[in-house]
């Protein structure tokens, strides 16, 4: 339980009224190190579930997988159905573990956030200060967003029709 709290604690971020952008990565290795660093240790949960009794979970049917793909807006043509069935099973096992995890009943579920909990209510002065604080920022955050896209046209992002097919 204590370990779980620590893990979650590492994911909590401070919340301010100014945007925060971290320092620039200096090398590819730094990026790799950052991305592969386990914070929430979901892999740990997944591997735990593999060892557990959940092996006997029924496998989602082909039809269910196709339905889920449609619901998620993903193409079903050429999809690795068996691979998805396996991944789904792992995910369901993971959810089962979450369900079985002991909860601290003293915590207010309303406050469940990846942020500092129980923030005090804002007075009128606080509210105005937060608005002014936000507006004093020099940066408006805009950038040439399509420059990094694989496909773009006259400043627009592009979505190919085949991705939209089968979605609502």
């Amino acid at each position: 339980m204590y370990q779980n709290i620590l893990r979650v604690g590492r994911c909590v971020r401070p919340y301010s009224s100014r945007p925060l952008i971290g320092l620039k990565f200096q090398s590819f290795n730094e990026i790799k190190e950052y991305i592969f660093k386990d914070n929430c240790c979901t892999n740990e949960y997944l591997s735990q579930s593999e060892q557990a009794k959940d092996h006997c979970l029924p496998v989602a049917s082909r039809e269910t997988v196709l339905k889920l793909l449609k619901l998620s807006g993903l193409p079903s043509k050429g999809a690795d159905i068996e691979g998805i069935q396996e991944t789904l099973n792992k995910q369901i096992s993971f959810i089962n573990i979450l369900h079985d995890t002991d909860l601290d009943d003293s915590l207010d579920v309303k406050e469940t956030r990846l942020l500092r909990r129980k923030s005090p209510p804002l007075s009128y002065q606080d509210l105005i200060a937060k608005i002014n604080d936000g507006q004093n920022s020099d940066s408006n955050g805009s950038w040439d967003s399509t420059s990094r896209a694989t496909m773009s046209k006259n400043g627009y992002f592009i979505i190919r029709e085949e991705i939209l097919n089968g979605t609502d």
């Binding site: 956030r113 804002l122 992002f157 029709e161």
Partner: protein
């Protein structure tokens, strides 16, 4: 049975001559999305200006707006302040502890894969907006439209479909623009109430300065929920302007009445459905079988919006009086304006290409009125006090400003309310006639335009009156005036007209003669003097 039903069919009016049929009760509710005019977007520092940046796609997009992995939302509290103002103006109960939730659906212009909205604990609820026959033009004396809830949420981007190229272009300038979704109870029973509510709501958000309130630009978007005789509700979408909203309701009402009359209601009106408006008909977009499961969940990356109890009261104190209150003040003592004129001082236009906004016009009117009233003092009956300020500001001045394309805010740097009151006193004291006054005012405004409203310039009405020689001749010899009138009568060479005026057959045509006299005297002789003299010359008995 079929024959019997057809035989008993109601006569259906065309949309152009639409009327509600008493045996089919219409019940409507509205869902209105309003873009908030905050400086930045709801969860990022990007500039919030989707309308003006329409030609520069993806200009205002920060990392979060395009949902770059690793970016997180940062709440813009200006949207919270704006939502509080609207909630107060709509007499809502503000939820001091609301939260954001994720509404999941997949679409190209929704890069996050979910919309951040308020589902479980919205910002405000239980409000109402009253409509009145006098002010809003509804059929009933008054009608309360109840507001179920207000929620703060983010707008999506825009999709441009290029069918031939099999691609969709995506512009995310609008992605993350703050919206308030307002849901009313199904209180509307006729089209007049819906039209009045939309107009009043539009004016309200402009009055509060929280939105441009334009339907044309999509700053306000209205969906309609409609049912007839308590059959299942149909939601109407894609309604870009007021006429689309009203025409879609008319079409849908008649469509459903036909279904009921054909005995098909159990089959076709038993389940809710969503329909779109094509411009001439409604078409089914979604039924129950394709209802989306949005998988709502609290957004764990955003704090709850917790407000202390002082916020509502303090915000209320900073707000201007409601448009209804201002209207009532203007139609009461001492102003006694007609409702039509009062509305000109209170209603906000869309602000595009206008020469004034209602606030500066209202202030200019009130300041001029008080300055004029102070000088007139006892010299006029109270119910006539607003006659000159109203005629000369609302009708004459605004007309001239539009003609000259001159903004009110510019001319008031020189033509201050006190100076305009000086001008009104010239007319009040008969120093110049109304006709000369019109010419003089236009000349002054034209000069202001030519000098770019130089704040150092001053306006000397007296010198101008002398320069143009337009001072009213107050003491004119009766004989001399009758001679002028006689000359006019002879010059128009229309014996029949003159006889008809003299006999009383065409009483109003005497105004034509007076007009000729005014023209000849360049407005220096009063119209009343001319009328009196013409009557004497023509020996009028009526």
């Amino acid at each position: 049975m079929w024959v019997f039903r057809r035989f008993n069919h109601t006569h259906f009016p065309q949309i152009s001559e639409f009327r509600l049929l008493p045996q089919y009760k219409l019940k409507c509710g509205l869902e209105i999305h309003t873009q908030l005019d905050t400086r930045n977007k709801l969860f990022s520092m990007s500039t919030n200006d989707p309308f003006h940046s329409a030609n520069n796609p993806n200009l205002h997009t920060s990392f979060f707006d395009i949902a770059l992995p690793g970016t997180q939302p940062l709440l813009n509290y200006e949207a919270v302040l704006f939502a509080t103002k609207l909630a107060i103006a709509l007499n809502c109960r503000v939820n001091l502890d609301s939260q954001f939730d994720r509404k999941h659906y997949f679409y190209g212009d929704q890069p996050l894969g979910y919309q951040i909205t308020q589902h479980f604990s919205p910002f405000a609820s239980q409000g109402h907006l009253p409509l009145y026959r006098d002010i809003d033009g509804i059929a009933e004396i008054n009608k309360n439209i109840h507001v179920a809830q207000l929620q703060i949420e983010q707008d999506t981007g825009k999709s441009l479909y290029k069918k031939s190229e099999q691609i969709t272009l995506i512009d995310l300038n609008r992605s993350g623009v703050p919206l308030i979704e307002m849901v009313t109870e199904p209180d509307f029973q006729d089209l007049g109430q819906i039209r009045a509510f939309i107009k009043k709501y539009q004016n309200l958000v402009r009055h509060l300065k929280i939105s441009t309130g334009d339907l044309e630009t999509g700053a306000i978007r209205v969906d309609v929920n409609l049912s007839i005789n308590d059959h299942a509700r149909v939601e109407l979408k894609n309604l870009p302007n007021t006429s689309s909203i009203l025409n879609a309701i008319k079409y849908e009402y008649l469509r459903q009445v036909r279904i009921i009359e054909d005995g098909m209601a159990n089959k076709l009106l038993s389940q809710p459905e969503t329909r779109g408006w094509t411009g001439s008909s409604t078409v089914k977009l979604r039924g129950k079988e394709t209802t989306i499961d949005y998988r709502y969940m609290p957004d764990m990356e955003l704090p709850r919006i917790k407000l202390a109890s002082d916020v509502v009261e303090t915000v209320r104190k900073t707000m201007p009086p409601s448009p209804d209150k201002v209207l009532n003040t203007l139609i009461s003592e001492p102003y006694r304006l007609s409702l039509k004129d009062a509305k000109i001082l209170c209603l906000n236009s869309n602000g595009q290409g206008e020469m004034y906004n209602h606030e500066e016009l209202q202030q200019f009117y009130l300041d001029t009125f008080h300055s004029y009233a102070y000088r007139v003092k006892e010299g006029i009956r109270a119910n006539n006090l607003s006659k000159l300020p109203t005629n000369w500001i609302i009708h004459e001045l605004l007309g001239d400003l539009n003609k000259l394309e001159l903004p009110l805010s510019k001319i008031t740097k020189v033509l201050k309310p006190k100076i305009f009151a000086d001008f009104l006193m010239l007319i009040h004291n008969n120093e110049i006639s109304g006709a000369s006054g019109k010419l003089l005012l236009f000349h002054v405004l034209k000069t202001l335009k030519e000098t770019n409203c130089d704040a150092c310039a001053s306006i000397d009405f007296d010198s101008l009156i002398d320069e143009f020689d337009i001072r009213t001749i107050n003491q004119i010899d009766d004989g001399e005036l009758e001679e002028i009138c006689q000359g006019i009568i002879e010059s128009i060479k229309n014996e029949k007209l003159i006889n008809d005026i003299a006999s009383g057959k065409k009483k109003n045509s005497i105004k034509f003669l007076v007009g000729q006299g005014m023209k000849l005297s360049q407005g220096r002789i009063k119209a009343q003097d001319f009328e009196k003299s013409f009557k004497k010359v023509l020996d009028v008995k009526w």
